[in-house]
Symmetry: C2
DNA sequence: GTTAATATTATCACCTGGTAATAAATTAAT
DNA sequence: ATTAATTTATTACCAGGTGATAATATTAAC
């Protein structure tokens, strides 16, 4: 079929790379970049199955809103005593190509609930001792239970345990110190 | 002046709320929602300084790309031995209303570099012992140095230290265990 | 009830960034 | 030089707007 479509193949690759790199470029911008006509860019997009700018922008934007709902939510709280939060795990939280949630998301959940319970605006978590019991998969509902073990003027000692379907998957101790907006 | 602009005020509030809640609605969809004409929606948007759908979508999308470049970047690596990564801190990473970066971002940086250095696809971080020396503000460049202390068939012991302008701000020990995509 | 002010709606021409289809020009291989 | 693949140009159309102007409510005050 295409014996001399070398240049075209190269252009297709350049197009794919460019769009992956900066998805908000219009066809005419891409035409300038590739040094071809707008018509050619459109043809190339069609054959490669790449949607138009507006759809590409929309895809990125929708992804954004979908991963900001992965935030944990406080469902019960007794200030400086205890608190409970929940978080649904999703695709975005996983190691690429797997169903296993990165521990940083569980850590974040723990930090967030600890901050709420201790009612701190900003904190330095001096020490954290963490134990993960098992991996967590996407699509599960995690529950974090936080309890304050001691409150001192200088710092607070807080425990957080995270459960997946009543099975403990994570626990940590935080030694937290409140910080103002000023530099220490 | 505006004696009977009560209903208009209410409509303006409804409009602002709706757009904040779901920013991807077109004027005609908003018109149906508010039970007014498209012309009115446009006028309202103008007086409230709300941009059109496409710009709103673009804003959300741009926000998305801007905070995914807050991700740490590996700049040097010797597999299973050591590695260095850098990350620029930004507004998005801070406790609301402050310039202090949440520890979860520093933890994430540490986890990411540890994963790269140990060349694991997915891992269970069994134990993490963490010490934060001081708070980190937005707008700084953090450098993480990771070194592998021991590699065994079952697990690896990894240290990560994070520096802000040569001052150590964070250190941790990870006991990491590689996991496949299968459930354990 | 009439009037004047304010609010809403309708209409029109125009813009951007596309789709879809077709014809014409270019280019490489034989 | 001929042929076939490839690229470009052209045209008509669409969605979701902007901006301006005019017509039509709606309401308060007289």
């Amino acid at each position: 079929m295409s014996f001399f479509s070398q240049s075209r193949k190269i252009r297709h690759d350049k197009l794919k790379d460019k769009i992956a790199e900066s998805p908000f470029m219009t066809d005419s911008e891409l035409a300038v970049f590739l040094n071809v006509s707008v018509a050619t860019v459109r043809l190339d997009r069609m054959t490669l199955g790449i949607p138009e700018v507006r759809e590409r922008v929309l895809l990125v934007a929708e992804k954004h809103v979908s991963d900001s709902d992965g935030i944990s939510e406080i469902i019960d709280i007794e200030e400086n005593v205890r608190g409970v939060s929940v978080m649904n795990t999703n695709e975005e939280m996983c190691f690429p190509g797997t169903d296993i949630v990165k521990s940083q998301y569980i850590y974040s959940m723990a930090e967030d609930v600890a901050m709420k319970v201790t009612n701190m605006k900003a904190a330095l978590i001096n020490v954290a001792n963490i134990k993960y019991k098992s991996t967590v998969n996407k699509g599960v509902k995690l529950v974090a239970r936080c309890s304050v073990k001691s409150v001192r003027t200088s710092d607070s000692l807080v425990w957080v345990m995270v459960y997946n379907n009543s099975v403990e998957v994570f626990r940590c101790k935080f030694l937290m110190q409140e910080k103002g907006c000023d530099r220490s």
